[in-house]
Structure formats: C-alpha cells, structure tokens
C-alpha cells in the first residue's frame, strides 16, 4: 500500500526542539465565548512588553468590545480581502506574514476553513507553514473541533461540526492553555451578548449552549488536557530514567470497510489507542465475494484508510476468501490485543444467510478483546467533502439507466409473444412459461439486475395477460400460477444479481490489471537503466500514455531550486505560477494543484516524489480529457507511478553518490599516498645531496682523502639519479592517467626491446647472472617501443631490487596462440597470495627485508602501459622460489612482404 508522506508528529516534535521550527501554543476552550481570544491577546501583550516581535495575523473579535480593546496597539498584518460568491471575506494574508517573519504570530480560530482560492483548504495548514518557517504561533481552538472527538461532540450536542483539526496537529503544540469558565457564567455572557452578535445568539443558545452540553464539553477539554499532561509527565519520566509502571504492549486493530460508518470506527480506535498509549492498525480485507462494487464504495475504502493513516494508524490491505479468518490471522500475527469492529446494519435474515462477520471474528478471537460498535449513518461526511464519490456513483446510475437494454428486452418479449401466441394450444402453458424465461435469462446475463427485473415483470404481465386463463385479464383463476410468477421474478433477480456481480468483478479486475500492467511496464522500462535522464524520459512517457495527460517532471538543481527536467510534450504548461505550485509541493512534500485541497486553482496536479530520503522531485500532470479526470482509480494509478518514479530516481541518486564517494575516497587515498611518497622520495635523496655537497664546499683544508671525496660525489650522483627516476615515474604516471598519451605504435622486435632495457640498467644488471630465453623467430610486435621498453626496465629494476645481490634474474619471451608472453623473474622472497594483485596498485610497496627504495609507481605504470596495448600483466610466485611477473601483448599478423626475401642471397662472394 502506498503511504502518502505526511508530517510525522515525532518528526515535528523533534523539529520543534530544534531552534529552526516555530513553537505552537494553543488556547483551548470548551466552547465559543470562554475567552480564548482574550486570553491569547493578553498573553501576546505580555510577550510584546517583553520585547518579542509579535504580529497579529488574524483575530476574530466577533464584535466584542473588550476583545477589540485588547487589539489596540498590537502590530498587525492586514488581512487579505477575497471575493467568493459575491461576498467579500477577510482571510489571513499568509504570504505577507511569511514575508514579515515576526517572532510570534497570532492566528485565531485554528479550525477555520479557508475561502476557496486560498492556498490551503484549512487554516491549520497555514499555521503549519508558519511553524515550518520558524515563526512561533499563538492560536485558539474549541475542543469540539478536534477530529477524534468529533463524533462524541456530535452525540452530546446533536450538532455536527464540519470544521475539524487533526489530533496530530495538537500533538505538535508545545503548550496547551486551557481556558475554562463555569457554564453559568458562559450562559450569562451569552445572554449579555458578549459571545455572539445578538440575533444569532438565541438560536445558538437554544441549540448548543445548554448547561449539560457545556459541562460535557468542559469535561472533554479538561480530559484532553489532562491526558496530555499525563503524557508529558510520562515522557519526562522516560527521558530522565524514572521507573514507573509503563503501559503494556497493547495494540489496537480496527476493521475498516467501504462504508462511511467506518470513519466513526477509526476515530474510536484512535481514541482508544491514545488512551491505551498503544500502536494501532487499520485493516481492510478485500474478498472476492464482496468485491468493492461501485466506484463510490472503493473510494470510501481508500478514504477511510487514508483517514486512519492521517490519524497515525498503520494501514494494511488484505485480500482473502474468508474475511473473519484473515482478520483473526493478522491479529494473531501482530499481537493485537483489541479489535474494533462495526456492527453491520444487516437484517437477521442476512446474517443467517451469509453468517455474521462479527460472530465469526469473536469465535476466532482467542483472548483478544472485541469491541463491537453499533453503526448509524452519519448525517454528512463530517467535514470531508465527497464530491468525487457522488460524481462517480451518479455515473454508475447513468450507465444502469441507459434505455437500450430495457427497449431491447421489451422488443424481445414482444417478438416472443408474437411467435408463441399462435401455438399456445400446441405447446401447452407450462412450456410457454418455460420459453418466457428465455428472454429474462438473456437480459439478466447481458445487462444485469435492473433490466432483468424489468424483463421479468414484463414477461410476467404478458404471460398473465395473454396466456393465463382468463385470457386478456390480469386476474388469475388457478392460484398455482402464482408459483410460476414467483419463479419468473426469482430467475430474473438471481441471474441478474449474479451477472451484475460478475460484471463488476470483471471491470474491477480489468482496471486492476490495467493498473498493474501499466506499473509493470514502467518498472520494467526503468529497472535496468542507470541514467537519470533516460529514467525520467520513460517515466514521463509512461505516465502520459497511461493517464492521457501531459506530464512534467521537476527535480531540484544544485542550489535546491526546482527545475523542469522532463516533459512529455514539446511545449509544457509550466508557467510561473504553476512552477510556484510545484515548488510549494516540493518544499512541503504534499500534493497540491487541481483536484486537491491546496492551490486547487492550478492548471495541473502536482505530486511529490517522496522517499525516506526526502522529496526527490515533483511530478506534474495536466489531464487532457475533461471528464472523469480525477477518478479515484486514475489517481491511485498516478500515485503508484509517482511512488515508483520516486524510488527509481532515488536509486539512481544513491548509486551516483556511492560512486562519487568511492571515487573521492580513492583519490583521497592516492593523494595522501602521493604526499607521503613525495616527502619521502624527494627528501631522502635531497638530504644526501645537500649533505654531501655542503661537506665538499666547506672543505677549506684537505680533510677528505681522495677516496672519501669520491664517495661523497657518488652519494650525490646516486641521490640525483634516484630523484630523476622518481620524477620520471611521476611524469609517466601523470601522462598515462591524463589520457593525453598517444600510443606511438610501430613494429618492434621484442629481442631488440629486451636488449635496450638490459643496456639501460647497465651496471646494476651486470653483476647478476642473467638468463635470457627468447623463442627463435618470434613475430614482430605492434607496440610502442619506448613504452614496452619502459615496462621491461621497470620489471627488471623491480626484480633486482627485491632479490638478494648476485641471485639470478631471468627473462623469457614466447608466443602462445596469438599472444606474446614476456616474463621477468627473480629468486627473491615470494609475495603473499593476497597481495599478488595489489602490487600493481599505485604507491603499493612490499615489505621486504631488503632495504628497498622506490616510488611504488613502477608496476602501476607497467600495468597502465600494458593495458593500453590491450594486454594483461600479472604477478605470481614461482615454484622454484621467487617472483615472476608476466605480461602478454596481442600479436597481429604483419604485412609480410620482406621476411626472408633475400635468404641465401649473400654478398661478397
């Protein structure tokens, strides 16, 4: 199940503890008129006096004189006047407030619903944005507006409140101040006209402000505050390691169905979970028997699960034949201690036929407490708008009421009657009745329930009127014919309902299949690709094709600013204002734009591509077709796409980061190795040179014997030669690595190269027994003579350095298939098996008992050169003791025009 990213209370709390997030103080009251706004202003004045930068974002005085008095002298951000349906409303100017950036903002009436056209649907969303921007907020709220208490309040007061604030929002409040006055006083204030403007007061008083109501609301408010204090105390004890009885591992599970009644269950579960301080899950079981039929039902299911998620539940979707079994199984698996289930409004007969789900769950509960909540239809969606559901159910109806099936079945019936009527006597009434079942069956099978019943009734009437004696009347002589009539109707109903269900199943599975295959297509397209722009391209294409719209993908650039990366069409709909919507979506990680509650006036719908690592970017879509563009099915598919896109973008980013980190670590390692090497390999010879030279220069009298002088001069020479080798190696390496080196390939004779390399090492090698085995008549190599010579020099140099003086060095060269293998070996100490590959790493040096000076670059250079030639180099320990390094080079056939041309053609005789 795709989880929509939402503000996690814990995260927000954590965020609040940091300094960059604003702190929220809620002035909570039981009802209007208790003086929340007044208390809030009082507190604000104190802050103002303390020198805090306080600004009034919006305060509703309801014309109360003393409240208005309090407002005097307070800095304000002017409200924004907004036109809606011909009336002007004053709304809080969120952008002005954000731009003003006060330390503390006052925002009255947290539960307020904004005028359409505002950025957010609800004021608490505005407040959330202020908090995120680091502005502290004072706000006021009546307890009846709290989401989870909504049902209870409605039960107590019989007044349903549409404007609700989610509980999680109050959970992020750093302070809750309870404003409480006795009910008598409140009623007194109401009568004095201090609460509402006169005129409305009487009606409100009668309906809402009864002492009983007010006391009940007070209790709720007090209890809520007390619970919170409790929790704060507990977390304090926890943080400070104070032992105490901790809540047991309670877990609450609520069974959600596709009925609007489930919302009530969910809120009940949330309250219970909060009370028990338990985790809670909301589960929905899809069963093939009870496939969510209409769009409306499916939408309700999604909406319910969404609500549960918003209230902090873990939502789980299951599917199985036996719903009770699935529920019990899950409960057992997740160690659930309390199950909440609704009491369905079924008749006893229905229960007898289908078995009661509640009974089945109870039977399987095994030690789990089951709470059965009686359901009653809610008056309205309680603050949630259901236009989508209504739209789609209307569409379902329109489909069913299409006249064609009725006309066709009527025509079929008429035709049948015409054919049958002359043969009544011959066929007998029983057979006629049987034949009349035929059109009913066909109609039912083809068009479902309604046309089937229509057809059954029509058949019944026709049969009765034309065939059952007395003919041409509706009266029936023989009562036994009533059985026939009942059969007609039953056949129509049963067949019809069967086929309707079947059809729904087919449609549903077809939709599912479309969704799954669309998602599959996308995932297959992007699974193997690791280039970001290719992935983006296929996301845009797939989404645009599947949902018939225009798609834009926006990703943040290096500065974190959102930029268009991919568009499914040549020209895109991203204007300045659309980009602003997308940016908002990116920053907040919530969807917005057309069809949502936020910034609904936008042209496109924007969804954040969110993963655990944060929002990766934004996908915007503008649907082409006007009708049914926000069908839940399509939105679900869109959300599926977005989830997939987010994951793959994240995957690529992570891969890229890992690669960069690796490269960085590698270059870091190299750099430090280079520094070590530079400081050691340049300084050591320099030290000996400078030492020897100064010694010679400062010699005023003949201190040194001729031999000593010669020794000093030799020291200088060795030091200089060593530095020369080092600089050469560094330069070679740099040239090889820069990629600037061009191979100067020409035909070479390996024997020639070996000879030059040996000559180059001169004295060093002259003291060693040297075995050279070069296979006669080796073909010419196509290689860079000087580089291969360099390789041989390095290998020989290495072989010399890592072996005892006067031990044997061997060189051999032979052709194997179409490769020429050259090996240089010594009789030195073997290399540990694990290090055999490492010897070709830069700055790698073997630990050797022999005092070896070198750069650690020689073999690395060899490897680079050999690989540039398309060959390979490796090291191995020889069985005879010693190390051999072998490289091969590819052998190409040479243009063989000259070989042996003059054989036997000798000169001089």
């Amino acid at each position: 199940m795709l989880r929509e990213k939402r503000a996690d209370p814990d995260e927000l709390l954590a965020c609040l503890e940091k300094e960059n997030c604003g702190k929220l103080t809620v002035f909570l009251g039981a009802a209007a008129g208790v003086g929340k706004t007044y208390a809030m202003l009082e507190a604000a004045k104190e802050r103002l006096a303390e020198g805090v930068d306080v600004v009034v974002g919006l305060v509703e005085t309801h014309g109360r004189a003393d409240t208005e008095g309090m407002l005097e002298g307070m800095p304000m951000v002017p409200t924004r006047k907004m036109e809606y349906k011909g009336r002007t409303f004053a709304e809080m100017d969120l952008d002005a407030l954000l731009a003003r950036r006060p330390q503390l903002a006052l925002v009255d009436e947290l539960a307020h619903t904004n005028i359409p056209g505002s950025r957010h649907l609800k004021r608490y969303q505005d407040v959330e944005e202020l908090l995120t921007a680091g502005i502290n907020v004072y706000t006021s709220l009546n307890i009846q507006h709290l989401e989870t208490l909504n049902d209870i309040v409605a039960q107590i007061t019989e007044v349903s409140v549409r404007e609700t604030v989610p509980d999680r929002f109050l959970e992020i409040a750093s302070q809750i101040q309870l404003i409480d006055i006795p009910p008598e006083e409140l009623i007194q204030r109401l009568k004095e006209g201090k609460v509402y403007v006169p005129g409305q007061a009487a009606a409100a008083l009668k309906k809402f402000f009864r002492p009983g109501n007010i006391n009940a609301l007070r209790e709720l408010a007090l209890r809520y505050t007390a619970q919170r204090v409790d929790r704060q105390l507990e977390s304090y004890m926890r943080v400070h390691g104070i032992a105490g009885p901790w809540p047991t591992g309670e877990k609450v599970m609520v069974c959600v169905s596709a009925s609007p009644f489930s919302a009530q269950l969910i809120r009940y579960a949330k309250r219970m979970a909060t009370r028990l301080q338990a985790e809670w899950l909301a589960v929905h079981v899809d069963s093939p028997r009870r496939l969510a039929g209409s769009e409306a039902e499916r939408d309700f299911k999604a909406k319910n699960l969404h609500l549960a998620e918003q209230l902090g539940a873990e939502t789980i979707g299951l599917s199985g034949e036996d719903i009770a079994e699935e529920i019990a199984e899950l409960a057992k698996k997740r160690n659930v201690s309390q199950i909440i289930i609704g009491k369905p409004e079924h008749t006893r007969l229905w229960d007898l036929m289908h078995g009661s789900l509640v009974d089945q769950v109870i039977r399987r509960s095994q030690g789990i407490s089951i709470h059965v909540i009686p359901g009653h239809q809610e008056q309205t969606g309680l603050g949630t708008t259901w236009y989508r559901a209504k739209d789609s159910s209307r569409r379902d109806k329109a489909e069913a009421l299409s006249p064609a099936p009725f006309l066709i079945s009527a025509a079929a019936m008429a035709l049948l009657t015409l054919i049958l009527h002359p043969f009544t006597a011959a066929l007998g009434l029983v057979n006629v009745a049987m034949l009349y079942l035929l059109p009913i069956l066909i109609t039912a099978a083809r068009w479902g329930m309604r046309p089937a019943i229509f057809s059954a009734v029509l058949g019944l009437i026709t049969f009765d009127f034309l065939f059952v004696p007395p003919v041409l009347t509706f009266t029936v002589d023989d009562v036994r014919y009533l059985i026939t009539f009942v059969i007609f109707l039953l056949v129509g109903i049963i067949t019809g309902s069967l086929s309707t269900r079947l059809k729904k199943q087919v449609t549903y599975s077809r939709q599912r299949e479309t969704r799954v295959s669309a998602l599959y297509a996308l995932s297959r397209d992007i699974a193997a690709v690791d280039k970001l722009n290719e992935v983006l391209e296929s996301i845009a294409r797939n989404v645009a094709d599947s949902l018939d719209g225009q798609v834009v993908l926006l990703l943040p650039n290096e500065k974190g600013k959102l930029e268009l990366q991919q568009s499914s069409a040549q020209d895109n709909f991203l204007t300045e204002s659309e980009l602003a919507v997308a940016t908002w979506v990116f920053e907040r990680g919530q969807k917005a734009g057309r069809g949502t509650e936020t910034l609904g006036a936008a042209e496109g719908l924007y969804l954040p591509m969110a993963t655990e690592q944060g929002t990766q970017g934004v996908l915007g879509i503008r649907f082409k077709t006007g009708e049914g563009q926000f069908e839940p099915e399509r939105l679900r598919l869109l959300e599926g796409f977005v989830g997939l896109a987010a994951m793959s973008i994240n995957r690529i980013k992570l891969t890229e980061q890992a690669r960069q980190a690796q490269t960085l670590a590698e270059s870091e390692r190299l750099r430090s190795a280079l520094f070590n090497s530079l400081s050691h390999d340049l300084r050591t010879p320099l030290a000996s040179i400078i030492g020897a030279v100064t010694g010679l220069l400062e010699e005023t009298q003949a201190v040194f014997s001729p031999e000593a002088r010669r020794d000093l001069l030799k020291t200088i020479l060795f030091g200089a030669e060593r530095m020369n080798r080092f600089v050469n190696n560094l330069l070679d390496m740099a040239r090889l690595e820069s990629g600037l080196l061009k191979l100067n390939k020409d035909w070479c004779d390996i024997q020639d190269i070996v000879g030059v390399a040996i000559g180059r090492l001169g004295e060093q090698l002259a003291s060693r027994p040297l075995s050279i085995r070069i296979q006669p008549d080796l073909p010419m190599l196509e290689a860079d003579f000087m580089l291969i010579e360099q390789v041989l020099v390095n290998l020989l140099d290495n072989a010399l350095k890592y072996s005892e003086p006067e031990s044997k060095i061997s060189i051999s060269a032979q052709v194997r298939v179409n490769r020429m293998e050259t090996t240089v070996s010594n009789l030195g100490q073997g290399i540990p098996q694990a290090d055999l590959a490492k010897v070709f790493d830069k700055f790698y040096r073997l630990n050797s008992p022999l005092q070896v000076s070198g750069t650690g670059l020689g073999l690395a250079i060899c490897k680079e050169i050999i690989e540039l030639h398309g060959g390979k180099i490796w090291a191995s320990n020889t069985p005879a003791g010693g190390v051999e390094i072998t490289f091969y080079l590819p052998v190409n056939p040479i243009p063989d025009k000259v070989l042996g041309r003059e054989e036997g053609d000798s000169a001089g005789n």
Partner: protein, 230 residues
C-alpha cells in the same frame, strides 16, 4: 680505435638555461675546449657565423627560434656537427632535429662522461672517415674494397641489403642514424615509413654479427630514434 686529436676544438653552446650553460662551460673548458655560449636560437645562428665553431651543442626548447629550425637554417650553409640536448618529453622533436641534419643527441639529465664521448665521436666523424677502405670496430671488420665483413676473424655471409646497412653504419660510425634516414638510404624514399623492414634486417644482422643478439655490442638501438654502430 684511433684517438683523434680533438683538444682545442671550438664549441658553441645554445641553451636558454643559465645553470646548464655554466655547467657545460666549466666542464668543457676543463677538458680543453674553447667554449662560447648564447641563450637564444637567433643569437646562436649569428654567433655560429662569426665564431665558426667546430661543434654546436643545441638545446631543443629555445624560447625564440626552435631547435629544429636552428638546425635547418644552420644546415643551409654549414656542415658543423650538432649535438641536441633534449628532455624525455621531446622524442618527436628530437627525431625531427636529427632528420633535419643534427648529428647526435643527449637526453637531459645527462652524465658528463656521456656528453664528452658524444662530442669526441661527432668531432671524429666530422673529420671524415678518410680514405680507409677497411674499418674496424673491435672484432667487427668491414672491408669496403672487397665487400667483406668479418667478425673475430670469420667471414660473415651477408645479403646485399644487409651489406648496404653495415656499410652505411660503418661510414657513419658512432653517429645516430634515424629510421627514416636508413630506410631512405637503403630502400629508397618510398619506404620511409616501413620500419618493420628495418627491424627485420637489424634482427638478422645482429644474429650474424653479434655474439649475443640480446645484448648487442655493435648495432645499438636508440629507442624511438634509430641505430648507431659502435
């Protein structure tokens, strides 16, 4: 080997680096040469005309007129031997300078002994092979009057091309002969780039003339440049 009297020969040093000029001046003067030094190519050409050196030591990396160009202009009127000073990164320039007429090269950093040997060889070569029909290089004897080649007293049978190669080497003994020069001289201008001919014949020659072809003593390879006979 006949030691020719080279003392007192006049050497012109063209190098832009003061350190090198100073070193060369001290070392060469110490060895009895008369030394003049200049720091730039054009100045070097002017000075060569006035000073009339017996040998020029020329750095390839000059700031004004490049070393190759200096060789080319010098060769327009003079046959004075030229020794190139180069660094490892200037392989191609070095070959171009040799092809343009320079006689030899020394790679920086170089040992003084090596440079002196090259100077001596170049001066000797400039003095000409003389009219001697028989040239000796240790155990290798080339008798041009009879087209005979013999190693350690034994006659060696050579193909005509092999003999031409040996003769070319012998006439230019001690001097670097570039691949291009050898190919052009032996096979003709159309074969200038067919290095593999040369490789094959050098291989054959070494097998016939050298006691250990892997450690040649006579036909020395100058990597990336050419060959020389010692």
């Amino acid at each position: 080997m006949i030691l020719l009297e080279t003392k007192g020969a006049r050497i012109l040093i063209v190098d832009d680096e003061t350190q090198i000029r100073r070193l060369l001046k001290v070392a060469l003067a110490g060895h009895g040469y008369e030394v003049e030094e200049v720091a730039a190519g054009q100045e070097g050409l002017n000075r060569a005309a006035l000073f009339r050196p017996d040998l020029v030591i020329l750095d390839l990396g000059l700031p004004d007129v490049g070393g190759i160009e200096v060789v080319r202009r010098l060769r327009e009127w003079s046959k004075v031997p030229v020794i190139i000073l180069s660094v490892k990164e200037q392989e191609e320039d070095k070959v171009s300078a040799l092809d343009a007429g320079a006689d030899d090269y020394v790679t920086k950093p170089f040992g003084m002994g090596e440079l002196l040997a090259r100077i001596r060889a170049a001066l000797r070569h400039a003095a000409g092979p003389g009219e001697e029909p028989v040239l000796e290089f240790d155990d290798l004897v080339v008798d041009m009057a009879h087209r005979h080649v013999n190693v350690g007293g034994t006659d060696v049978r050579l193909t005509p091309t092999e003999y031409d190669l040996v003769k070319t080497f012998a006439l230019n003994a001690g001097k670097v002969l570039t691949h291009k020069y050898l190919l052009r001289t032996i096979w003709g201008p159309a074969y200038e780039n067919d290095t593999h001919y040369l490789r094959v014949y050098i291989g054959q020659l070494r097998r016939k003339l050298e006691s250990d072809p892997s450690r040649p003593r006579h036909i020395i390879t100058e990597p990336g440049v050419g060959y020389r006979l010692l």
